[in-house]
């Protein structure tokens, strides 16, 4: 079970992130989680939001380079070491994680990660009794 993530290509220059956020705001899209790493020239701004397809379309229309990718959203035990234990299951099974970030909703920790080995990851989740959230389980309206 994966969820859709909107990935936006932005230039590392003042004002560009703000421009993208303004567009999202105007489209009345709700961002639930997001991440942006610092790199030299450009960055990929990754967003989990309530309407990924529409967000993608509207950004495209505004001339932004944007793409949809699929990521896992796995629930963590709310205790020290919760993330370590989950990540350990995947690395034991040889599943490589390209990137990850985490956030908390309604007191539950959620780990977002992307892997090229989707099938293997599904197996790890099933065999270890982990819970991967579907999009409908995300809090879509505040």
């Amino acid at each position: 079970m994966t969820i859709r993530q909107v990935s936006i290509f932005i230039e590392n220059q003042s004002g560009t992130l703000q421009k993208v956020l303004e567009l999202i705001k105007r489209s009345r899209i709700q961002i639930i989680a997001s991440t942006l790493a610092d790199t030299a020239d450009y960055g990929i701004y990754r967003i989990i939001c309530n309407e990924p397809e529409r967000a993608c379309l509207e950004l495209k229309e505004a001339g932004v380079a944007v793409t949809i990718s699929h990521v896992f959203a796995v629930e963590l035990d709310n205790r020290p070491g919760g993330a370590a234990d989950v990540v350990a299951r995947f690395s034991e099974a040889g599943v490589g994680i390209s990137y990850m970030y985490a956030f908390v909703i309604e007191g539950r920790g959620i780990l977002i990660f992307r892997t090229d080995q989707t099938e293997e990851a599904e197996k790890v989740i099933a065999s270890n009794g982990l819970h991967a959230l579907s999009e409908s389980e995300l809090p879509m309206q505040y």
């Binding site: 450009y42 380079a65 992307r114």
Partner: protein, 442 residues
């Protein structure tokens, strides 16, 4: 000279199929004549004196490299009649460029020059299948623009019924095409497309309602895809024409029915392709600036005229039987050339590489700047489009791959920058800002 039998593939069989050795011998003979004529022109007389050349020193075509170059600025500086090698009373025609960037250039013709010009154009038209039974319509502008009268006289020389429709009034063009049974049309490529659009609007089917079969296109850069589209739309074969008013106009080089390169008439011109900076000749097949020496001009012979047009010589024989060398489709102007760390780079080379990557758009921006400790560097900004992958490693790989391919092409390692869509200056047709030169000059 009489018109050959319509079944002949050549208008002037002896000259068109002359062997390479035959062409060189003819060129050597005519070069001597040309140099003697140039000695009547003060500009060349001074140059010869400066270089210590006596006309009698020039014996063969290989001696052309001893001769001075001529530029458009030289022509402008001697406006209007400074390059005449005969008294004005012997001249019968004058053509002139617009002169938007300074003095115009003037080209003078004797009657013999006009006859030679008409023959060259007639050769081209015959080569692409035009015959006396055809009706030729010329939609080029008449007047000072050489494609008007140039094609007119050439088409008449073939013996075609010639319609000097001139430019514009598309409805009337279409009426002429239908009423007069036009089978051979000359038009610039964008106008040929326009004629097709209007035919469509008028419910005219070019295949059903017209006799069009041959189209001559030139004067405007266009891609192979555009040519194929025009051919498909109008139901014709379209042939490329290359003309340059300083040489005469149309008739300089033309595609044969192979549609693979433009034969340039070597009994009219000595063809050289040179490095635009060192002015040294480049090997056959390599891109450079086209330099032409006239061999048949009386009124205004020109030595090693720098056309500023970039092209290359296509190596090998043409199945059509003509040994006159073929030029590749013109590839822009030498004025666009970039020199970086002593290497010559043409934006077209960069464009060609970028087109191969589906992850990026077709716009690009080349920036040249001076970096402390690094000297002059080149960066190429390219726009990422919506097929990018959500993954830094893949983007890095894309960057590296573009860099690698560019380096293989231009022999300098550029810094490739991926930028978001819409951040580069927008291109309109051919006038996009493609190069920014911020280098510090010493």
């Amino acid at each position: 000279m009489k018109t050959p039998d319509s079944s002949s593939p050549y208008f002037q069989p002896e000259l068109e199929t002359l062997s390479v050795e035959g062409l060189r011998a003819l060129q050597s003979e005519r070069l001597q004549q040309t140099v003697r004529r140039c000695a009547q022109v003060p500009f060349y007389r001074d140059k010869f004196a400066e270089l210590g050349i006596r006309p009698e020193d020039i014996k063969s075509v290989d001696d052309v490299t001893k001769l001075p170059f001529t530029t458009k600025d030289d022509l402008r500086d001697h406006y209007p009649f400074g390059f005449a090698s005969v008294p004005l009373r012997d001249c019968v025609r004058l053509h002139s460029s617009s002169g938007t960037t300074g003095n115009p250039t003037v080209v003078l013709h004797t009657q013999s020059d006009l006859d030679a010009w008409a023959e060259a154009v007639a050769r081209c038209l015959w080569m692409v299948g035009a015959r006396p039974d055809d009706v030729f319509q010329n939609s080029a502008g008449y007047g000072m623009f050489t494609a008007g009268l140039g094609f007119q006289y050439g088409a008449e020389r073939v013996g075609m019924l010639t319609v000097p429709a001139a430019a514009g009034n598309t409805l009337r063009q279409i009426k002429f095409i239908r009423d007069f049974g036009t089978s051979v049309l000359h038009a610039i490529p964008s106008y040929a497309s326009r004629i097709f659009e209007v035919m469509n609007e008028q419910g005219v089917d070019p295949r059903r309602d017209t006799k069009l079969r041959v189209l001559c296109i030139g004067a405007e850069p266009h891609s192979e895809e555009q040519r194929r589209r025009i051919e498909e739309n109008l139901g014709v074969k379209a042939y490329n024409s290359y003309g340059i008013s300083e040489m005469m106009g149309p008739g300089v080089a033309f595609e044969c029915q192979e549609q693979n390169g433009l034969h340039i008439w070597e009994d009219y011109f000595i063809v050289e392709i040179v490095d635009p900076v060192t002015l040294e000749r480049v090997p056959d097949g390599q891109l450079g600036e086209l330099v032409l020496t006239t061999l048949r001009r009386e009124a205004m012979p020109l030595l090693r005229y720098r056309t500023r047009d970039l092209t290359r010589i296509l190596p090998g024989d043409c199945p059509c039987g003509r040994h006159h060398v073929r030029l590749a489709r013109l590839q822009g102007r030498s004025d666009d050339m970039i020199i970086l760390k002593g290497v010559n780079i043409f934006p077209i080379q960069i464009e060609k590489i970028l087109l191969q990557f589906k992850e990026i758009g077709t716009d690009y921006l080349i920036t040249l700047e001076t970096r402390e400790g690094e000297g002059d560097i080149m960066s190429v900004d390219v726009e990422v489009n919506n097929v990018f992958t959500d993954d830094y490693a893949t983007l890095k790989r894309l960057e590296h791959e573009i860099t690698r391919q560019l380096r293989d092409e231009i022999l300098v390692t550029p810094r490739v920058r991926l930028v978001p869509k819409g951040t580069l200056p927008v291109s309109d047709e051919k006038k996009a800002v493609r190069v920014r030169d911020l280098r510090k000059l010493f």
